[in-house]
């Protein structure tokens, strides 16, 4: 049904450069909203970053500092119940340089509801760049979503508060 597409070389470089420029200019670790609890991040647990639509691209380092994920949604503020894309770049220590892991996953759950998404997203890689595009994402309810990221042995997660007003 779905086939993995490979971006042409030029497009890949443009995408990588754009992402790095974006990160240098405006990429930031989202501030924790006051109403969300302090994240627990023991060394064995993935880091948790709190994100809001205003965060733009979200930088999510792993707790051991060996990798980080730069995540952005398309559109930046997904609408409730509508499909959207997640663009992720996997970076190395200090969030520098692409980390081209062979395995990648991005999943989202609503811990308060004890369920995940109603879709089965597909991850497509731009080989060698650490860039991944996840298709088929859908937050079908407003509220708190936990987005889990994994690349090889690296893991982190971010919290997303999906507003019903995002229409």
């Amino acid at each position: 049904m779905m086939t993995r597409s490979h971006a042409p070389q030029l497009t890949r470089w443009v995408a990588t450069l754009s992402l790095l420029v974006l990160c240098g200019a405006g990429c930031k670790e989202a501030q924790r909203p006051a109403h969300l609890p302090e994240p627990k991040a023991p060394s064995s647990e993935p880091t948790t970053v709190y994100a809001t639509p205003e965060s733009g691209r979200m930088r999510v380092p792993t707790s051991d500092g060996k990798a980080c994920f730069v995540v952005g949604f398309e559109p930046a503020s997904p609408k409730v119940g509508e499909l959207f894309l997640a663009h992720t770049q996997v970076l190395g220590p200090g969030c520098n340089g692409p980390l081209a892991e062979a395995e990648f996953s991005l999943d989202a759950t609503m811990p308060d509801h004890a369920h995940g998404m109603v879709t089965r997203p597909v991850h497509e890689a731009a080989p060698g760049t650490g860039n991944w595009t996840t298709k088929g994402m859908k937050f079908h309810m407003p509220g708190y979503w936990k987005v889990d990221l994994k690349a090889g042995e690296h893991a982190a997660s971010l919290n997303w508060n999906q507003s019903a007003a995002a229409q």
Partner: protein, 458 residues
Amino acid sequence: MTLPKPSRPTQLRPLRCADVSVGGPARLRAPIGHRRPLLRAAWRAACAVGLACALGACEATPAPTAVTPEELALIQSLSPPPTIPASPSNRYADNDEAAALGHALFFDTRLSKNGKVACSTCHVPALYFTDGKPLAEGIGKVAKHSPSLFGSHFAPFQFWDGRADSSWSQALGPLEAPTEHGLTRLAVAHLMARHHAEAYTAVFGPLPDLSDSERFPATGRPHSLDPAHPEHLAWGSMAESDRDAVNRVFANTGKALEAYTRKIVPGPAPFDAYVAALTAGDATGGGHMKPGAVRGLRAFVGDAQCINCHNGPLLTDFAFHNLGLPGDRDLGRSKGASQVLKSEFNCLGPYSDADGKCDELAYLDPAFEDFRGAFKTPSLRNVARTAPYMHAGQFADLPAVIDFYKSLPGEPQIGHRELVLSLLSTKVATADLVAFLESLTGPLPDEKWTRPPGPRTP
């Protein structure tokens, strides 16, 4: 981890009927003997007003509309009604001739086994395209309530359980359902050839020649669960190319029906005028909603948390939820999700015009854990005109629905109730919520589309 509830907006208390007591302001309570006639008349009038208010007959001064920015954003997300989306799997969706054919088909009782049932039997225009009955009645009793067609084209999945992924493929289901129209796709093809050949040909091109009864029996369709069924055997006796030709006529019949039903879209309601006025800076909302309705709206987006599922401009998330309704043992969405993926009339099927661009279907997870016993959230536009309610017509009126949310009686017979579905506070006035829901009633479509077309073809 639990998110704390958003801070409640400041509630500015409106002047209520109770604020005008039956006894009247104290300073009017002078000894009766000292009152002058004019004052006595005024006193009587005040008493009358007070009593009427106490009985709930009067409306207080407009409720405060100084909503918080957070409330305003939520309220604005519910309005205005959107323009109808494209229908990629039906290239005839916006074809006027197809709509005219669909209009004729919608009211044509010949499209049924007993000649008495049309689409309009269960989707009565004057009832906002519902039938006013708990359970639909076609050839026989149907297990589900007739949903309104208003807003249905916005949903990625059709039917209460989402077993179709377009309005045209949805329309095919009732035609072959034994308790609804009771036909088969072969019978439909013959009826189209007999009664609608000219209009069909003008839109879709020539019909196949169905005159050879050996190649095209009078009736037949697949019965995957009953391979010995005569209709299944008749269908199986046909050449594959002939089955394909019949399937195409059948699909086109659905596409014409969709072209017609796309004329049935929600129009602006008093609520939309209220939101437009709010957005323009008129804190009173232009007076388009009464104070009770405004209180109901603020509860809807606030404490009552209705907006969790009834969100967006059609006041539905088009998602599927298990409410744990009494006595319900239907698998709901978990069955419907599997069915839509297998349907030959889905977006990815050979009769679709979507060229494979079917993201909703492609990424659907039929194994989603909470699909068991879940049914689609209906749009609340025009909801006050579409009683009874729920997928099996469990509740006769809106207060009964709201009472259900205030008590959540019993446990689901299948699956489990949506975990975040908490009891609706009894402090939320049922009458306020009902008043808000009544403000969502918009106009019926142009009369051209709500009455049967001219004399039908022989």
